[in-house]
């Protein structure tokens, strides 16, 4: 190796004599960190210009500078840059996780107060401003039914649409579909709510409802479908495109018809990704408030029938309780928010497990 470098006419050999280099001792980074925190605390509290948040921020900057200086002095420039960038990347990760951890902590700490049987077993029917109890049973039922119906509508439709676009669609029509799916992705949720209000609640449903507008859980499900469909189509489309063409050709070469190839080879291969996309869509829909607010009608009583009369949902419940004047309402709102997040989490984990079971263990 050295000979080829040495023979190079324009560049003199820059080979180091030894492969060993001086390294910072293992205890150096923690020591620098501790020193940074101490200095930052002394400066911030000594001048009393801020609190713990400022201490952390100043300490982080001091740590980066100190680490760079120490590494530069002992290990050289390249290594100093490496250490500084690694530290920056780790700090970016911490910064990204911090809000999430904070949200979870807030939800759990404030939501635990009303985490009782009464909350999950009762509705808000006949609960006045002075009543401490009252629960979200009706809202939980509403969310499950509305999101369930929306999923029943969008998952088959979305997957079939994606299959058309990827496997069959050619030319302008497929292009137009993709374009409008992209446009739909950007629809604000309130617009989809207004659309269903104008189209379904005020125009179509009165036909079955003696001329009265039919606010219902089903209308909310329709509005959520409008929001979920583009997400399901787009994510499924991406996953189907990731299935290598040789797999399809391998099936064709066995004399397997195209529809069966898609059903038995392409879809199973893409399934874990499709499930993730569907779960993201469901999670988004479960958290939507605006469309439900406009078309479901809300309501404090338990209504198990999504096709008739007003229904509530968890996000709507949170919205209503958070704005309620009763001193007991905020606690109910926090617990409902915690319930909603937990529900989505459980659904996601269940779907992931299901998708994994269909795949073979390595």
């Amino acid at each position: 190796m050295s000979t080829t470098v040495a023979n190079h006419p324009t560049r003199p050999p820059a080979q180091p004599a030894t492969l060993r280099a001086r390294r910072l001792p293992k205890y150096a980074p923690p020591v620098i960190a501790a020193a940074a925190v101490a200095v930052a605390a002394a400066v911030v509290y000594g001048t009393s210009i801020g609190g713990p948040v400022l201490v952390v921020a100043v300490a982080a900057l001091l740590y980066l500078a100190g680490l760079f200086a120490a590494a530069n002095a002992v290990e050289g420039r390249r290594s100093a840059r490496n250490r500084t960038w690694s530290a920056l990347i780790h700090s970016a990760f911490v910064l990204a996780v911090l809000p999430l951890a904070s949200v979870v902590w807030t939800l759990v700490s404030k939501g635990v107060e009303r985490l009782d049987g009464n909350f999950f077993g009762t509705s808000m029917n006949n609960i006045g401003a002075r009543d401490a109890n009252g629960g979200a049973y009706h809202a939980i039922v509403g969310t499950l039914e509305q999101v369930g119906i929306a999923a029943l509508i969008t998952v088959p439709l979305g997957i079939l649409c994606a299959i058309y676009v990827v496997e069959y669609g050619r030319g302008r029509f497929a292009f137009a579909i993709r374009f409008f799916v992209d446009v739909m992705t950007g629809i604000p949720s309130i617009v989809s709510g207004l659309f269903v209000l104008a189209f379904w609640v005020l125009v179509v449903s009165p036909v079955f409802n003696d001329g009265r507008p039919g606010f219902s859980g089903f209308a909310a499900a329709l509005a959520l479908s409008v929001l979920m469909l583009p997400t399901v189509v787009r994510s499924t489309e991406e996953m189907l495109r990731l299935v290598p063409a040789p797999l399809r050709e391998g099936a064709y070469a066995l004399g397997v018809p195209k529809w069966k190839t898609i059903l038995r080879v392409v879809l199973p291969t893409a399934l874990p990704g499709i499930v993730t996309g569907v779960m993201l869509a469901i999670a988004r829909a479960a958290g939507e408030t605006a469309p439900v607010l406009l078309v479901a009608g809300g309501g404090a009583a338990i209504n198990l029938n999504p096709f008739e009369n007003n229904q509530s949902s968890l996000s709507l419940f949170v919205y209503q309780q958070a704005g309620d004047a009763s001193k007991y309402a905020p606690a109910r709102a926090w617990t409902a928010a915690l319930t909603l997040v937990t529900l989505v989490l459980i659904l996601t984990i269940a779907a992931k497990l299901l998708a994994r079971r269909n795949r073979l263990g390595r």
Binding site: A251, A253, L254, G255, V256, T269, R362
Partner: protein, 258 residues
């Protein structure tokens, strides 16, 4: 089982680009025929047009007549899936179905074409794996995923999968180019055995391989980039490699060109 393949004036396009022009060639039953030639000369295109795999790509089409024992597979009333069941194909890179086990991979062709009976599937799986010289290596782990095998084993799995549907002709598109010499040898041995039952057409870049395994060799070439590939010479392998009639063939096999 084995059938004769007869190509006359086969021309194939990718959109407006003409990839091969006027290929005339007859492959006898129960022989191994090698297609050789420089990259981009249309060997693979010709191979893929034999089981109508060429037209899978958007814009690709084939003109001319390709007959299997007298039946033109490009007739309007021909069922493409029936053609592909009769003419199997092994690809350059092993492509076992990732969601299926070894067993499921082998019987995929049968199962997806409606065979349900377990005794038939079991028998087909064992026979094909034995024919592909893979049975002894995998018989204890048929339920494990096919993607967990080594590259050479995966390719033999794909061969087993192909012969499980009992095709008449087996097409191989550089089946050993992603494999090490030992796996290559295993697959070449396999071709010798399969020749008793199937007509085999193989595309290869490895001229020693063509000389070792094939009875007849077809040499394809192009004038320059952008021109369609043409069949330059088609003869007994021994003749091609010892005394070719064309200067171009000689240049190619002696390594002076391509």
């Amino acid at each position: 089982m084995a059938k004769r393949v007869d190509a006359s004036n086969v021309t194939a396009y990718y959109g407006a680009f003409k990839a091969i022009e006027n290929i005339n060639l007859t492959v006898e039953p129960k022989t191994v025929t090698a297609l050789i030639g420089p990259s981009g000369c249309g060997k693979s295109t010709f191979l893929r047009s034999i089981n109508r795999m060429h037209e899978v790509l958007p814009g690709a089409r084939v003109e001319g007549d390709l007959t299997i024992d007298g039946q033109n597979i490009y007739d309007r009333d021909v069922d493409v899936t029936a053609v592909r069941r009769m003419i199997g194909m092994v690809f350059q890179r092993p492509n076992p179905f990732p969601t299926m086990s070894i067993y499921e991979n082998v019987v995929a062709g049968l199962r997806l074409n409606g065979v349900r009976k377990k005794s038939i599937l079991d028998e087909a799986a064992e026979n094909s794996l034995r024919s592909a010289n893979l049975w002894d290596e995998v018989k204890g782990r048929l339920g494990k995923p096919g993607a967990g095998l080594s590259g050479g084993q995966q390719q033999r799995l794909c061969i087993a999968r192909t012969i499980a549907v009992e095709p008449q002709v087996v097409l191989m598109d550089e089946p050993c180019s992603a494999l090490d010499p030992i796996s290559t040898l295993a697959i070449e041995d396999l071709m010798f055995q399969l020749k008793d039952k199937f007509t085999i057409i193989i595309v290869t870049h490895n001229m020693q391989q063509a000389a070792r395994v094939s009875d007849r060799t077809a040499f394809f070439s192009i004038e320059k980039t952008g021109d369609p590939g043409r069949l330059i010479e088609y003869d007994n392998t021994q003749k091609i490699f010892s005394n070719p009639s064309h200067k171009k063939t000689e240049d190619y096999i002696t390594g002076r060109f391509g």
